[in-house]
Every structure is written in structure tokens, then in C-alpha cells.
Subunit: 139 residues, 2 copies
DNA sequence: TACTTTAATCAGTGTCTCTGACTAAAAACA
DNA sequence: TGTTTTTAGTCAGAGACACTGATTAAAGTA
């Protein structure tokens, strides 16, 4: 079986389940919004940075940040070091969603480990981390 | 690092590269179309089957099949065993794209194996196949 | 100062995906 | 057999997401 599909199937399952958990907890956001949100640095990120990290255009990133801002998950503040730029910062409201996502993630990882075994899980992680070195365009 | 992102990064890289190779060879199709095309059985598939396999609604599958049909990559023929249904079949034109995709896939797999080693590659495949047992909704 | 680059936005468009409502054929059943 | 329910697929409408191209304002550079 095609290695691409093999990678995609568990990925999609994981993403769907985490999004379901997050929205069930009352955090109303979409997958694209969540993907972007994840990439924001602790001190805030510029839109251009964010676009690059998430592998979308600045326009798309701006569109998503608009929605996240409207929903109260991020705020834009002026960048003190550059008058053209603004920093996108995660709000407390969005930070409250993190433990929900983390808990679901832990649940899924435990399930996976139970099914494929501790050894295989460690090997999977190891192989993927090494693979990231040549496939992550942001690295 | 988050196992979801770890899975997603090489997947996206692979998909992008294969699509680039396929479109560069003159086969003008989108990712969504290609995903659906992959799922069509040798003897043809019903729309409902296809939708289930690709995890989209019947409407979405129909929309994509319309486009694939317009581009000449599939044809719809009546299902002899069911007057309501039609079989979506892959055309020769689409079949010509397969070796292009396969060649790119082989190239990528070779690169990956060169970077992470034969042993890790085998472990990755093994772990993912086992994981598919619990994460593939179509299985 | 004049020119170039960079950060972000505005305008417009195409693709993908969904929900809901519908038609027609097949299957189930009374 | 005739009626009801299920199944296969389509039509209509809407929203989300992604793109290209053009523009504005600030910063950096010659």
C-alpha cells in the first residue's frame, strides 16, 4: 500500500478527533483556523511568519486571522519594532482550548500505543522525526 | 513534537511532489480529483462507494466525478445490476498518468530510504500498516 | 532624497466541501 | 401483488479556504 495514504489515514483520524473534542468543548473553530493557531509563537507572530509556517499565502493567513480575531481567539497588536507589522497574539480564551486538545491527543496516543505496541510507537516517532528533516519546508 | 504534525509533514511533501510530477507531464487535475481517482476499482466503482472510500459526501464525489469526466479521466456507464446506479470507470487517458505518479513515488521513497535508512523505513511502513487497522474508517 | 524592499491589506476568483430537498429504482414486507 | 422503506444519485444553495494580482505604508539602502 501507498506510503502517502498510509501516512494520511492516521493523520486524518487524529485531526478529526481532536477537532471534534475541541468543538464539543465549545471552542467553535475550523481545522484551518486551528492549524494556524498552533503556529503562533508565545510572544506573538507576524502574519508573514505565520503564513510561511503554515504554508499558505499571506492573504490566506490574513483571512484566517480575521476570523480568529472575530471569534476572540487572537488579537493583533502593533509590533513595537516595526511600524508596518503587527503581532498576532493568542488570547486567554484560546489558551483554554489547549488542555482539551492535549487531553484528546493523549487519549489517542494511548490507544495507538495499545494497538501497535510501545516499541512500534517509538519506532514510528523516530522514523517520522528523521523524515521531517528532509520534508519540512519550514525547517 | 506533535505526532499529528509529524505524520502530516511528510504526507504533504509527498502529495505535492507527486501532483507536481503528474501535472508537469500534462495531466491537468487537482489534488481532490486525484484522491478520488485513486479510489476507483479496476472494474469501476459506484459513486456512493467512492464517496465512502474518500470520506466525502456523495455530492462532493459527484462534483469531482463531473470534472474528471469533463477532462476525460473517467466515464460513467450504467450499472447492469442496478438501474439506479452507474459505474465510474477509469479511462485509458487516466491510466497513462499512473506510471508518472509511480515513478515519482519510487523516487521519493528512495530518497526517504537514503535519509532514514532501510531499517527505519521498514519500521515506519510496519507501524503505519498496523495503525491503519484502527484508523482507516473504510476498513 | 530617491529607490527598493518588506508587511500587510484589498479585490476578485476558483475549488472544495457541506446541508437540505428531491427523483427514480430496488428491496422489503404486509 | 401492492405498498412502504431504503438506496443511488442529482439539484440548489451556501460557506470555507486557497490562490493571483494590485495597492498602501513603513523601513532599509544608495
Amino acid at each position: 500500500m501507498n506510503i502517502g495514504l498510509l501516512l494520511y489515514i492516521p493523520y486524518r483520524d487524529l485531526e478529526n478527533r481532536i477537532m471534534a473534542a475541541v468543538t464539543a468543548a465549545g471552542f467553535d473553530m475550523t481545522i484551518a483556523q486551528a492549524r494556524l493557531l498552533q503556529r503562533i509563537n508565545p510572544g506573538g507572530s507576524r502574519l508573514t511568519e505565520l503564513a510561511e509556517a503554515a504554508q499558505v499565502t499571506k492573504q490566506t493567513a490574513g483571512f484566517l486571522v480575521d476570523q480568529l480575531e472575530k471569534a476572540g481567539f487572537v488579537q493583533r497588536v502593533p509590533d513595537p519594532t516595526d511600524g508596518r507589522a503587527r503581532l498576532v497574539q493568542v488570547t486567554d480564551k484560546a489558551r483554554e482550548a489547549v488542555p482539551v486538545a492535549d487531553a484528546e491527543m493523549a487519549r489517542i496516543e494511548a490507544e495507538w500505543e495499545r494497538h501497535i505496541g510501545k516499541r512500534r510507537m517509538a519506532q514510528l516517532r523516530d522514523a517520522l522525526e528523521k523524515l521531517g528533516e528532509i520534508t519540512d519546508p519550514y525547517r
